[in-house]
Symmetry: C2
Subunit: 214 residues, 2 copies
DNA sequence: TAAGTTAGTAAAATATGGAAACAATCCCTA
DNA sequence: TAGGGATTGTTTCCATATTTTACTAACTTA
């Protein structure tokens, strides 16, 4: 467990972005300046320095940041070296897509189980994993020490699935169902609602002067 | 084109949420109070009244809001009655999932075309639509007056696809590729990066005291 | 050693958002 | 028809978060 030096949420949201930007830098580059990174991430350079200063003293004045040190530190701070295990519940189209999605593994997350209660799906394979019934959830969570639950069920089942996941000791939930999940102490919940994203876009579509943020 | 009375971004983000909450209300309920809606949306009741006041004078003092009026006004403000047409580019697992996703149509968006440049995919069907090559994009955009482009390609193709979409007159882009797209005046871009969402979760996983926001 | 670069950080400026509070308005009932 | 209770619309204030500025410290190169 890390100590809780508080990093502002706005900064936390930019850390994965910085990591992504570093991947765009040519492999023979060894260092990078805050202004160059700022340009890639499309933020102010002082912002970059300030954000990175939360991770410690990483750069060298007059020189810049060593790319590999920076990458390591970002990964460390974000917990990407912990090898968190995740399960996906609800293996419809979206769940399957998430199961196949390479970006998770690439960042150090391991999908260790797929779950669905549809008898027609149980025991079939997706992305090299066998779909199991929810009754097997607890067993899996113990065996693999699952920390993250990804919910891709229809809205009406999301809350009960969330409850089950939390009951199994899962401490973080990424929710794709279009419902607002109950808040539970010590459980982190992030929701991605595809339809809401499109609705927000739609609002700004009629108002080209305004600029959507974030 | 709507006049540009400025609604704060934080409010715009809550409007689809209110709409979602209204769907949870029993059908024989005819009205709803700000406090009840606040409870469903998990926000302060003053917040609800303030947010809704941006849409005009919808409620009745001493009574509350008429649900169907409120719903209509939310849909109107969000542009959900405009019948925007959208295309999806990149019909991999995620693109297919998005094509099947019912939440879009339900909210008034019509997916009118699927595009991919993989010869193995072209002319095959997904969700009742035939996958077309990108060279057909312009034709479709004109024919259907496409306003929204959804990008679900690998990161390396996302920017060129975005350029093409914008060239075809698309004014809003929902981007699922893990790259930062170039900003273009009068084009709205929203990005959803699945891996970044998980990374943010991962940060807070090690720090149970802190609470992730938004 | 001097000039040029660049990180780290304190502090100011800005923006935003949330909560409280209250007057205005409506419904209901006696 | 008057009064009490309920609930919105809106103003105002407060708190806080975020961004930017500006400056100092430290390094590199010539």
């Amino acid at each position: 467990m890390k100590e809780n030096k508080k990093i502002p949420p706005a900064t936390v949201k930019r850390l994965p972005l910085y990591l992504q930007c570093l991947d765009q830098v040519s492999d023979n580059e060894i260092g990078i300046s805050s202004s160059k990174l700022a340009e890639l991430a499309k933020v102010n350079d002082a912002q970059v320095r300030r954000d990175l200063s939360y991770l410690g003293t990483l750069g060298t004045r007059g020189v810049g940041y060593d790319i590999s040190t920076l990458r390591n530190q970002l990964q460390l701070e974000l917990g990407l070296v912990e090898g968190w295990s995740a399960v996906i519940v609800g293996i419809g189209n979206l769940g399957s897509a998430l199961a196949h999605y390479g970006g998770f593994r690439e960042k150090g997350f391991g999908i260790v189980g797929l779950f669905d209660d549809d008898p027609k799906k149980i025991n079939s394979q997706v992305a090299g994993l066998v779909i199991k019934p929810l009754s097997d959830l607890e067993k899996y969570c113990e065996k693999f020490n699952v920390a993250i639950g990804i919910i891709a069920t229809p809205g009406e089942h999301a809350q009960s699935v969330a409850d089950k996941l939390i009951g199994c000791g899962v401490r973080s939930i990424l929710n794709f169902a279009p419902v607002l999940l109950k808040n539970v102490p010590n459980v982190q919940i992030r929701s991605v609602d595809l339809s809401q994203e499109l609705q927000i876009l739609s609002y700004y579509l009629d108002r080209p002067i305004l600029k959507a943020v974030d």
